[in-house]
């Protein structure tokens, strides 16, 4: 089966750049499985795990806290706000950040709708991180 180039970059480093068979991306409007030859797209991401599949098995799981993905027939570039391999997530850390995001969200309750949405997205991303940490 044809492979494509998957690149995962966060502002702080290049996490992944190699040929893969399939990637499942947490797009803003639902999970998206990408195979080689996909139509060109630019999608926004929500917090969730990127799963890489090769030879019918899942070979890599990486948590992203939002960002964008650029999809072309031969290449997928994920620009993550923050990315960590799921195996390196710690549950205590995730709990702390969920609490932080919750506090920020509560504080933003009176703010403009845009800010509230941003805080909400952040909280959801952190909850996704907690789930991922628990599953690992």
């Amino acid at each position: 089966m044809a492979n494509f180039q998957l690149e995962l970059v966060s502002p702080e480093k290049l996490l992944l750049s190699r040929e893969v068979e399939m990637a499942i991306i947490p797009a803003a409007e639902g999970e998206m499985g990408v195979l080689a030859g996909h139509a060109p797209m630019i999608v926004a991401l929500r917090g969730g795990t990127i799963r890489v599949r090769e030879n019918g098995a899942e070979t890599e799981r990486l948590f992203v806290a939002g960002g964008f993905a650029e999809i072309t027939p031969t290449r997928v570039t994920v620009l993550a706000d923050e990315a960590t391999p799921v195996a390196e997530l710690s549950r205590a850390e995730a709990d702390r950040r969920v609490a932080e995001a919750q506090a920020a969200y509560d504080a933003a309750a009176m703010d403009t709708p845009e800010r509230r949405d941003a805080a909400m997205a952040r909280l959801l991303a952190m909850r996704a991180m907690k789930d991922a940490a628990q599953a690992a």
Partner: protein
């Protein structure tokens, strides 16, 4: 002629100064390596962000309700300069260069009748610019005491800029920082942030000849992408400035160490001559004393 004791004391003091500058040079070299690798690690993201923005921005820039971050407020009256300097001194001309560059730029803008506002990042720049332009400084940010610059620090600066833009406090925003060319040279540079300079759209072959589909809409993605892009530009500038600071400090401390070495040689020569002169003087005194007897 200075006494032997005072010479000895000077030699010792210069020696300990040399020890300090040498240590600072080593520390700067180690930090430079780290800062450089951090700057390199940030590059792939910036490059890809640019590529994405090129394909997105070009299609939205022409529309009347294009986001402010992309096209600015339309005016050109109030300029915000974000001046990035180091938090510490003893880095050769590093901080002064940015300061001088910023000052020239402020003068130039004000001569054209524009209003200038300043946001300083780093303590040294704040101190330098406040002396002359205290009334223009609208904010100071400092990361003093931080071991490592993180992306969230840059996001903080970017959020501040965005908030000011939304409040209509400026029309045009530019970054002034030391661009890292190599260890020896850092070039003070001005880089425009808002309105965003659009990179040239890549060749359509890059996307397989077809246009992108967007999910959710183009506008929504752009609304998220632009603040992120602003943050990454700031992050890049902060990293380059941090690398430049260490490079400049390393060069400055290398020179200082060499100068201290020269100084020690000179003082030692002087010390030996004085010592010899003293001995000769004493001998003459003894001999002439003996002759008189």
């Amino acid at each position: 002629m200075p006494s032997l004791k005072s010479l000895r004391m000077r030699i010792n003091s210069v020696k300990s100064t040399r020890k300090i500058t040498q240590a600072m040079k080593m520390v700067a070299a180690a930090k430079l390596r780290r800062a450089q690798s951090q700057a390199e690690a940030a590059r792939p993201y910036a490059v890809r962000m640019e590529r994405m923005l090129a394909s997105l921005g070009a299609s939205v820039a022409g529309t009347p309700d294009a986001p402010k971050l992309l096209v600015g407020s339309g005016g050109d009256a109030v300029h915000l300069l974000v001046v990035v300097t180091a938090d510490r001194g003893l880095a050769g001309p590093f901080n002064t260069n940015v300061g001088r560059f910023a000052r020239a730029r402020i003068r130039e803008l004000e001569a054209q009748g524009k209003t200038v506002k300043l946001l300083t990042v780093g303590r040294k720049g704040a101190a330098y610019l406040k002396r002359e332009f205290a009334s223009r400084v609208v904010g100071e940010i400092s990361f003093a005491g931080k071991k490592r610059l993180e992306f969230s620090d840059a996001s903080e600066v970017a959020a501040r800029i965005t908030a000011m833009l939304e409040a209509g406090e400026f029309d045009v925003c530019a970054l002034v920082y030391n661009r890292f060319r190599n260890v020896m040279t850092q070039v003070p540079t001005e880089q425009r942030l808002i309105p965003a300079p659009l990179p040239e759209a890549g060749s359509p072959a890059d996307s397989g000849g077809a246009l992108y589909e967007y999910e959710p809409t183009e506008e929504e993605i752009l609304a998220q992408l632009l603040p992120q892009n602003l943050a990454i530009q700031v992050y890049r500038a902060l990293l380059e400035s941090a690398a430049g600071e260490q490079g400049s400090r390393m060069t400055a401390m290398d020179n200082a160490t060499r100068n201290a070495g020269e100084m020690i040689n000179k003082l030692t020569l002087n010390y030996n001559r004085t010592r010899q002169a003293n001995i000769t003087k004493e001998l003459i005194e003894i001999i002439s004393g003996a002759e008189a007897v």
